[in-house]
Amino acid sequence: MRTRSVVVCVMALLGVLAQAQERGAYTNSIGMDFVEVPAGSFVMGRFQPECAAVGAQGNVTEEQYEACLQMARKAAREGFKVTIGKPFYIGKFEVTQEQYEKVMGVNPSYHTAAILGEAAGKYPVESVKWSDAQAFVRKLNAIEKTNVYRLPTEAEWEYAARAGAEGDTQGAKAPEIAWFMNNANYRTHPVGQKLPNAWGIHDMLGNVWEWVQDWYDNDVVPTRPQGPSKGTEHVLKGGGFHAHSKNIRVTVHAGGPGSVISTGFRVVMEKR
């Protein structure tokens, strides 16, 4: 029985890897790897609070349960359909320290070789503000000239992170796909060590929080495909190395400034 389970697991893993290899791939002059994300659609912004049963841990009366149900019904959101009209490329990994330094000439990261006890180049860059990520994109565009680089929108990020999955259940697989509070030992890790998602993209959850293009709207979930036209902070997605498992979910809609030493980014690319 156990042998059969192992075989099934290995076959499933090979299936994921094969699927990942089939997708379009691209590496730019900086050495940044990209994966092609197909056109398609998904439901974004769904929110449904759930209530603990009567008597749970001695802290829920019948009256409280009914009150919770009523409040949960009121707070629920159905979400909305987002359509990604054409394929785009997204970073297979978070931008690394060596890539950031190659483009920007500096490396702001806290997790240096002195902290880690080994070379830090393959670790994700962190301690970057949203404006730093934008400056990186501007310089990368100036260097590359061939394609257009930018931050993903929140919708693009979530679509790529889901890789076709529905619901909000990726947290159950968190230890296999993400570095977070339960397994990261309070530090970042080299990119690409955890299993990729079904489209071959690594570390969408965990390791470092990732800036996206949208302004943050102070709401519990997004209410439209694109964020507001202005704001004071930008959206953060994916959770970082010290995030609680509750934040290791594709739907988490967080906002800056975030925890400095666990905030990085990845970029998307549009072929000219």
Binding site: P49, A56, N59, A75, H242, G258
Partner: protein, 236 residues
Amino acid sequence: MRTPIVGRRIVLPALALLCAGPLCSGAEPGKIPPGFQRIFNGKDLTGWHVSRSNHHGTTLMAKVDKGELVIGQNPIGEGGLLLTNKRYKDFELYLEIKPDWGCDGGIFLRSNEEGNAYQITVDYLPKGSVGSLITEGIPALGGTGPRRPPDWQKIWKKDDWNSFLIRMAGEAPKVEIWMNGEKIVDYQDDKNHALGGARDGMIALQQHFTNPTTPRSVPGGVHRFRNIAIKELNQP
């Protein structure tokens, strides 16, 4: 300078009149120890902000009601953190708290924006503990000295205001806590457990999240705070 007798006769009734209004109903001047600076003005949330990346929630309800700072879930299930804008290194913090029964909260010390911090529990619910020093999202403590008061219920005033005086100083911090004037924690950490070796951080007030397996707040339950004041130590 000593206040002249005549002056005091005028000033004291004037102060009493000033504090007869709604702004002072939760302030109770005189409970804050001397030399402390208020960090909650009793009118609005100036100097504070809600964490937008904490796992308990990113849309915490935080408001001022009758001079009291009130935090709670928003929407149901989603708690969060209210953080000071300023970071503190070594300090004495005084505050008074009145949580609703059935709610899990906490006072976070040297916190980062996401809520990785030293924490004093305010788990005011069945089998809960109030006044214990623990960690939230940082390595487990390994220092010496009592940090989990077993008899907190004997000191706690039910359905009433309870005061905390918290002293935190040193890189590997010594943390002392007095609840309603009685010392309940006297702990010396063995190293600095703050994330990234941070030597300072924000003070934060927590409202726990809830879900079917974590029923750590009652619907609509809140934590109330007043007289929040700080005295910074070892200033250059």
